[in-house]
Every structure is written in C-alpha cells, then in structure tokens.
C-alpha cells in the first residue's frame, strides 16, 4: 500500500502500543540544550535512572550564551551556572557536547544538520519547539517538553499520538526578492496559527523541489508557528548532496546503502493525505508581520488591517490587542514604519546562505545611524565560513555588529534585548509580546534581506526597491 513519509518513518520506529493507547515511539536522535534539559537530568538523578543510549543524544548551548563576550565566567552568573550544569550532565552521562571550545557550538537546529546528525528517515526530538526544522531532511522531528526529554534520555522513546498529515503544495516560481521566509509566513497567514494542530505538514511542489536545504529548513522551522508540531520535505538528491561528507553522515560503503534506504522513505506518488492545500508561488510577496502572532502578516505593499476587518468577534479582539501593543493604526501602510533595531540571525535565518544573500546586496550600503543592527551567525561553523569569505567585513563596514554564535535577540535569555518599546525588524520566528526581552518591545518578522532593507533605510522597506532587485525579463 502506498504510504507517505510520515507513516513510513512512524512504522519503522513504533515500538508498541502503550496501555493508555499512545504509541511508544523510538527516538533515534535526541538533541538537547541548556534550557530544557537540566530538570530532566535532575529527575533521572533523583530516581537513579541511567541514560540508556548516550551515543544517540547530542548537546549544544545556544539560548543563554552571550554573543558579545566569549570569556567565561560570563557576566551573568545564571548563564554561567546553566552552561556548567550542561557540561556536568553531559560529562557524567557520556553525552557528546558541542561546547563553546569545540568550534561546533551553535543553535541546536543549525548544529544538527551541519554536523550531519540530522538524517532522512529518522526520528528526532529536542526540548525545543523549532525541532521541526530537522524535517527538512525527511525526518520526523518533534519539539518536546522536559518530562519527555527525561523519557528519551531514560528509554530513547516517548509516548505519542500519531499525527494526521497535510500536504502543502507550493507550485510555480517565486519572484526575485521573495524568499523561503515569505513562503512560510504566507502559509501561516493563510492556514492560521493553529491551523496545523494535530497535523504534520508535508511541504512539496516545484518551489520545494528547487529549494536548497537551508531554504527548506527555514520553512520547516516555522511549522510550529502554524500550529504543526512536525513539518517535513521528502528527501531527494539535494538532501543527499548536502549530507555527503558531513562529520556524522555515513561513510564509504555505508553511504551508498544509506542513500538507497533514505530514498525509500519518501512519500509514494499515489499515497494519501488527510488534507491537501495548494498555494501558487506567484501569489506570495515579501511578507512582514504587523501584530503579535506570526499569522498576523501582510505583504510589503499592503496596509495594516483595522479592527473592523476582523471576520469574527475574537478576530477583531485580537487585531485590537495587536494594534495596541504595536502602537499601530489600522489601515495605514506597513511600509515606511520606522524601526529601531535590525536583527539578523536565529535558527530560522541564521545560516550561511542567509548571510551570503544579505551580504551580496549590503556591500557599499550603510545602516541608518538611528538603527542598531546586529548580525548573529547561527553556529561557530557558520561564523567561521562566513569570516573566511569576508562576510563579516561587509557587515561591519555597513554598520552591523558582528557577533558570536547563539540565539541572541530571538528571545530574552542573554544580554541581547530590546529596550522599552523599540521596534525590531527581525529575521527570527516569533513576534509574541515581550519575546525579544522588553515587555513593551515590538517585533516585525521578515526575511533576512527585508531586515537589511529596514536597517539601511531605517524603516520597513521593500528590499526589491532598496537593493534594485528587478523582475526577471519578460515578467
């Protein structure tokens, strides 16, 4: 019987049905970081339970690491305590830790793929909701809570209910200046922030076939912002080419065998889905969020909605709440709104290709002096390659601060924070109230190049105009 990837991977990892009706699912690859793992190790220690398969858990430190100081002890004693706790936990249990002195540290969702740990046909879990990122490789990757981190450490399994699968086809060609980030912001705007509850999203169609692995990761990363705990793309030659030669990828004769195996996990052409959604690439434009959830987005040439535009009472309520927090007036254009901060980084858009794309256009341009602009590579590996290519110079000459790897201003657990009601143009994934570290701080989500356009002009701007990106001939 024809099956989709989700079903195939699920079946290969299902251990048994539990008394409560859930499935005990093997989690082949477990990634951990400093924020959601210490309590899990604590629970195991308290109960005297060992880590069952230490070679299948990999750790890194990302949320609390400062990006402007590398010397320990960090100025924040709490951050220092957390990194030390992770170090201790990994050492005691023989878990591999990509510590800050390994040259491999970085945001967990950048490190896994970069090291070749993330592979097709596998199950992956991490105590972090953006674990869906790893689905870009044709893996089933779940964000989990700390009690489940404990479960995986103790048993390499967890209790789960099977998800339904929605296939999202994006066919056609994206216009120049429209990026993977715009695709996912558009999907979330279309299907809603809880449209994906109970579903895994399978992203497919011409646009995904043509996407690089890094672009696929950007989309899968934000599945959770659309309510879907899992998002994936079927593995293909692009996937295999990315993985070949990476440190943890199979080597030699094992490589060929693995590629054949991986191909077999892709959804069968005539398999069925619980739901199918079709989107035209041509309908997607550069998107900017104007509100306080990632579904509140508009195209750059659209207006911020007014309260009356809400279809239901609760929608009107949430528009009103968003407008109040954002200090925006409904019905006014998003373009031209003055920004204070430009943040380039995060597990959504802190990869090499993101920085390269921006650097290509930023050369010779200057950041508006009113704007604080920071560029934070997602991992030490990204930082190193970027510096070898001279990208750091392009950024610093333009007026961006060039930082060390980490989550940085994506969330408020390190020194990078908004101050007061600053408005931030951000390549990250969440615009919740207070997300970037100030209760009254405001976040606009957009693609990396749109962040650069905002940095240069000091306001929300159309990157295609700012950087002279032309429609292709004949369009």
């Amino acid at each position: 019987m024809a099956k989709n990837l989700f079903e195939k991977v699920w079946e290969a990892h299902a251990v048994r049905e539990l008394p409560n009706g859930q499935t005990q699912l093997l989690i082949g690859t477990h990634l951990i970081h400093e924020v959601t793992s210490p309590q899990a190790f604590g629970m195991l220690r308290e109960k005297g339970i060992p880590v069952k398969y230490p070679n299948r858990t990999f750790a890194t430190v990302d949320h609390i690491v400062p990006t402007n100081e590398v010397q320990e002890p960090y100025s924040d004693p709490l951050a220092q305590a957390m990194i030390e706790e992770l170090r201790k936990n990994c050492a005691e249990t023989n878990v591999t830790f990509f510590d800050t002195n390994t040259g491999k540290q970085g945001i967990v969702h950048i490190v896994g793929p970069e090291q070749g740990i993330t592979q097709p046909g596998t199950t992956i879990a991490c105590g972090d909701s953006h674990t869906s990122t790893h689905g870009a490789f044709g893996a089933i990757a779940f964000g989990i809570g700390t009690s489940q981190v404990r479960d995986v450490l103790a048993t390499q399994t967890m209790a789960l209910n099977k998800l339904k699968v929605r296939r999202i086809n994006v066919d056609g060609q994206l216009a120049p200046g429209v990026y993977a980030k715009d695709v996912i912001l558009h999907i979330i705007r279309t299907l809603g922030v809880n449209g994906g509850t109970g579903y895994a999203y399978e992203y497919a169609g011409e646009v995904f076939d043509n996407f690089s692995m890094e672009e696929r990761m950007t989309v899968c990363n934000m599945s959770i912002e659309g309510g879907a705990r899992v998002g994936y793309v079927n593995p293909d030659e692009t996937t295999f080419a990315y993985l070949e030669g990476r440190p943890y990828a199979p080597k030699g004769a094992d490589w060929e065998v693995a590629v054949e195996r991986w191909k077999g996990f892709a959804s069968d052409p005539d398999c069925s889905y619980d739901d199918v959604v079709n989107i035209r690439a041509e309908d997607i434009g550069p998107t900017v969020t104007w509100g306080i959830n990632p579904g509140q987005g508009v195209f750059i040439d659209e207006r911020i909605p007014s309260v009356e535009e809400g279809a239901t009472a609760s929608e009107r309520e949430s528009i009103a709440e968003a407008l109040e927090h954002m200090q925006f007036e409904g019905g006014t254009p998003i373009k031209g709104v003055e920004v204070d901060v430009a943040f380039l980084g995060s597990c959504t858009n802190g990869r090499l290709s993101d920085l390269e794309e921006v650097a290509k256009y930023l050369q010779g341009k200057k950041v508006n002096p009113r704007v604080k602009a920071i560029c934070v590579p997602g991992s030490q590996v990204v930082a190193k390659i970027a510096m070898e290519k001279g990208l750091d110079k392009i950024f610093t000459e333009a007026g961006f601060e060039w930082r060390a790897a980490g989550c940085s201003m994506c969330l408020a657990m390190n020194p990078d924070k908004l101050v007061g009601d600053q408005l931030s143009a951000s390549s990250s994934n969440r615009n919740f109230k207070g997300r970037q570290g100030s209760v009254t701080g405001r976040t606009l989500l957009m693609s990396p190049l749109m962040v650069a356009a905002a940095a240069v002009t000091g306001e929300v701007a159309d990157a295609r105009e700012v950087f002279g990106i032309l429609e292709p001939a004949g369009a």
């Binding site: 009706g21 509850t197 195996r261």
Partner: protein
C-alpha cells in the same frame, strides 16, 4: 515485570526510600474541583505564561511565582490590573482561557509555572499541541469547552469568585452552581489521567526489550 523494572531503576543500589519515589503509583485523576479564575483572550503564548528570562534556572522550583509575570506587573515592579492579582481570585486552582492556549514554545516551564502557581486544571476553547501534552504528563488536565459555554463560566466566576467548579473527566462535564456544561479532552489523555497513567515513564521503561529490537533494525542507530 516489576522485578526487571526495579533492577533497571536501581543500577546503583539506591536506598529503598529513594526507590519508592520512582515506583509510587500515580494518582487517578477523574475529577478536579476548585475555584476558578479567567484569563481572557485567544492565542495566549508560552512567552506570556512564563517570560524567557525566568527560564534561567536548573530546576522548576519557584516558577509559580512568575506565572504571567509581565502581564501582571509593570516594568517598575508595580502591579497591573490582572485577574491573577485580584484578591478575590486568590487560591483559584482552575484556569479558564480562550482558544489556542499555550501556543509558542515547547517549554515545559509554562505548564510547570501554572501548576506550581496552584492550578490543577485548565479549561479553554482550544490548546496548542505541545502545551497540551506537557500538561497531561504533569497530571494537569486541559479540557476544552464551547465558546458560549466558556463565556457563561467566566461570568459566573466573575459574579461569584467563590463558586466551586468541578471538572468530571468520566462524564466529560464541567459543573458549577446549578449549571453543567459539556467539555472535551482527547481520549488518550483522558484515559491516561483517569487510569493514573499520565506519566508514561514506567511503561516506557518496561518496553526496554522491544525497544532494543527496534534499535537493531535501524542502521543509523549504529552510526551507519
């Protein structure tokens, strides 16, 4: 089976008193009773439930204090107007909210903060997936109710904060005063709660032999 479980649990030969914690039976949660408090609005996210800066900790202890911190307090430390700051709702153990409650991050800090603030159940129009699972695993039922029914419940709490609310997971019903409204909860979670199986760790450990069999069939588990 219990013998195997104990051996597995106790590789370091812990004192029996410590072992008891591990094998203690879980409470069967069929009913949650208490006073309620409503935090209105849809899409209440985990950053709002527990701001990230309070997650700089290595235990969950003390998180209850910080639940909804930034919507309850001004930056200068003075209190905002918020139901959780109102004396009349003090001691409430059932939280009532809107749709897509708990969206955002997978941080268990969110349900932990709610639980440690004294709540034992959440009633809302809908829940985000990960929040729902995390809460269930803590033994804190998350039940959904229709929007109109929730309005009624909210007004009743507002009119009389001392009104006792009772959530019955067998009858899938919420009763308060002389009213009863229907509620729902995913069957897997419901049966886990009512059968005292909401924390699956023991069952997962018991499956160790079958797990080993699945591991042997997967080449990547051996790095291939």
């Amino acid at each position: 089976m219990p013998v195997k479980f104990l051996e597995f649990l106790n590789p370091q030969g812990l004192e029996p008193s410590n072992l008891e914690i591990a094998v203690m039976a879980l409470e069967k949660i069929t009913q949650v009773k208490g006073r309620g408090v409503a935090v209105t609005g849809d899409d209440i996210d985990t950053d709002r439930i527990i701001p990230a800066r309070f997650m700089k900790c290595v235990t969950f202890d003390g998180l209850g204090e910080y639940v909804f911190f930034d919507v309850r307090n001004y930056e200068d430390g003075s209190q905002r107007e918020h139901p959780l700051n109102e004396e009349r709702f003090a001691g409430a153990s059932i939280l009532v909210s809107g749709n897509n409650f708990g969206c955002g991050s997978s941080r268990e800090h969110a349900p932990q903060a709610i639980y440690r603030a004294g709540f034992r159940a959440v009633i809302a129009e809908g829940f985000a997936e990960i929040f729902f699972g995390n809460s269930t695993q803590l033994g804190m039922p998350c039940v959904t109710a229709a929007k109109a029914d929730l309005e009624g419940l909210r007004s009743a709490i507002d009119a009389d904060p001392d009104i006792e609310i009772s959530i019955d997971l067998d009858a899938k019903q919420i009763s308060y005063g002389d009213k009863a409204i229907a509620c729902d909860i995913r069957e897997g979670a419901r049966s886990a709660l009512v059968n005292g199986k909401w924390d699956p760790i023991q069952d997962l450990i018991d499956g160790a032999d079958e797990v080993a069999g699945v591991v042997d069939n997967l080449a990547y588990m051996a790095g291939k």
